[in-house]
Amino acid sequence: MEMLAQFLGTEGARMIVGLVGVIALVSVNALFLIWMERKVAAHMQLRPGPMEVGPHGAIQTVADALKLMGKELITPDEVDKPIFWLAPIVVFLPVLLSFLVVPFSSTWIIKDMNVGIVLILAFSTLSVLAILMAGWASNNKYAVFGAIRSVAQNIAYEIPLLITVMSIILMVGSFKLSDIVAAQSQYWFVLLQPLAFILFIICATAETNRAPFDLPEAESELVAGFHTEYSGMRFALFFLAEYTNMFIASAVATVLFLGGWHGPFLPGVIWFLLKVYALIFLMMWFRWTFPRVRFDQLLNFAWKILIPLAFANLLITALVLKLR
């Protein structure tokens, strides 16, 4: 008993409770986001969206998820089986682990690592690996297309993303997410670094493969892109990962630019979630308004415009900090 009590008071218990909480949050959040996307899309398109299951279709996505669970997991003959089976897991795990360091409020954080931001960025890169695995193992031309596009796109957009993050790190002097938020108690960094914020949002949209940068799964060109051959729960995992990635990207943007949990009256967690969902709404707004960019334009945009701009922003930040 003594040992148990000792254990519960430690970091280990915090991790276990945290992980259980994260898994619950991820599932509920993804279900909510898919419903939200359908509703946002519907209202932008002059239609009501899902209305039948639950009030305003609120539990439609629960029904959909249950249906997907009941579906057969089809493994086509020609696929590279081990990689094909592994890809949905590889895409999902890093996203899950990223939640470990997300500071929902000053106390609601599972593990406040001093390299938090680096951890999130590293894990977010891993999803490209999974997409490449999925596309390659599917042994389908459209899937390979999607995978190759995804790799090229993610490499291109990772660079400006990291550089913009660097300019914030320079200002704070810490990789710790809670430090970054604490530094914004007076004013949000979006006011000091508006360009960096815009760059970050563009890059994050591209990193999460969202429209107008949704080339890896461009349905009018590549049918369904890298997950063409996936069915049932495996497909659901890709879907879940996409929406959770969106949440992570928005959470990082909130931490870096929108002052994290800071805000008057309401508790910190509420403020944090409000800001995150506002950013997610922005990304949904992009998706249902813009046409898709072409592949060469996408890469040109990253290499010729975003990277120079991000570098310029970093240099100016460094210069201002030095002179101050």
């Binding site: 899309a41 398109q45 949704d214 009018s220 249902w288 308004t289 046409p291 898709r292 072409r294």
Partner: protein, 370 residues
């Protein structure tokens, strides 16, 4: 050291017949080098229904419903082309009111066809929302056409000699309201589409067609006009009541897919103008010619009648040998000629461009396969 002997530098990609952006059952065999296309070959015939052969086995009136199935989007123009050819063959003049009704309904149908194209084309470019806006507009239009023609898509409304049912007051007020509504919607489309920098980048200088190429391939319709040739059968070989109305032929400058977009949107505006004028001038009188025989049995002879559909020139060539059935009917359809330029346009473009070009061709596959 291992030496790899890599002979094949290209690979084949099969686009269709079941692909989200081939608009039905068109299949394009692509030879690709990376993301670039080195060769494109349209494979057609999946929707072949032998319409021309069917014509040889049924009488003139029985063939009429087939016309709505050839081009399901602008069915009334095909109705009109066929009816006018038969009228020529049996020597019947259509009363003026019937001609006016034909013009009004055919132009409404042209607008609905262009609205479908607008949505589908932007869907090909990856913008999902416009299709729901254009289908919302089209819905009003289909209700109007449903009122007079009795169906929403595969119309069979005109008859040799006129039209079977008259339009009523409710149709006229409804049409006027629709015109007013659509004019305000053009501003929305402009904001959503042509002011969008991604759309402009995707479409500018893509799929360029010169005037020479257009003539060489026999392209017609918005394709030809997008390249700057003001050829429209409604003006160049006026038929029906079109000479009575004042309208312009919009033309593009360069002939890229952006010009084709602009031309089609302007055409919708012109169609609205024509409908408005026709409603203003609508004469009273009969809607059916008096001397149309119950059993159409024309004398020996051949006729050709061309009309302007939403996609270009539709020509109906009828050979009669004095029987109740036509000896042979040849349908000259615009999409078939317009698609023939695709292999030339597709070379050295990306898959995304090919999809955009295919969208700008505005193919109706049953029309190609016939």
């Amino acid at each position: 050291m291992i030496e790899y002997d890599i002979e094949e530098k290209t690979y084949t990609l099969n686009l269709g017949p079941q692909h989200p952006s081939t608009h039905g059952v068109l299949r394009v065999l692509l030879e690709m080098e990376g993301e670039f296309i080195t060769k494109a070959e349209p494979v057609i015939g999946y929707g072949h229904r032998a319409h021309e052969h069917m014509a040889e086995n049924r009488n003139y009136l029985q063939f009429l419903p087939n016309m709505g199935r050839v081009d399901y989007l602008h069915a009334l123009a095909f109705n009109q082309g066929y009816c006018m050819a038969v009228e020529k063959l049996i020597g019947v003049t259509v009363p003026e009111r019937a001609e006016f009704i034909r013009v009004i309904t055919a132009e409404l149908n042209r607008v609905s066809s262009h609205l479908v194209w607008l949505g589908a084309y932007l869907l090909d470019l990856g913008a999902f929302t416009p299709i729901l806006y254009s289908f919302d507009d089209r819905e009003n239009l289909l209700d109007l056409l449903d009122r007079v023609t009795g169906s929403r898509l595969t119309y069979c409304y005109y008859r040799p000699g006129g039209v079977p049912t008259d339009i009523d007051e409710e149709f006229i007020t409804g049409t006027r309201a629709f015109i007013k509504r659509l004019r305000t919607r053009f501003a929305d489309y402009d904001n959503l589409v042509t002011k969008n920098v991604i759309f402009i980048n995707r479409t500018k200088d893509v799929g360029l067609i010169t005037k020479d190429q257009c003539v060489k391939y026999g392209l017609t319709g918005p394709f030809l006009r997008g390249s700057g040739i003001p050829y429209d059968i409604r003006k160049s070989e006026p038929y029906s009541a079109y000479p009575l109305f004042d309208f312009e032929i919009p033309i593009g400058e360069k002939g890229d897919i952006l010009d084709r977009y602009v031309v089609r949107v302007k055409e919708m505006e012109q169609s609205l103008r024509i409908i408005e004028q026709a409603l203003d001038k609508l004469p009273n009188g009969p809607i059916m010619a008096e001397k149309v025989p119950k059993r159409i049995k024309p004398a020996e002879g051949e006729v050709y009648q061309a009309v302007e559909t939403a996609r270009g020139e539709f020509g109906c060539y009828i050979v009669s040998q004095g029987d109740v059935k036509p000896y042979r009917i040849k349908l000259r359809v615009p999409s078939f000629a317009n698609l023939s330029i695709l292999p030339e346009l597709a070379v050295d473009t990306l898959v995304a461009d090919l999809v955009a070009i295919l969208g700008s061709v505005d193919v109706v596959v049953p029309e190609i396969d016939r």
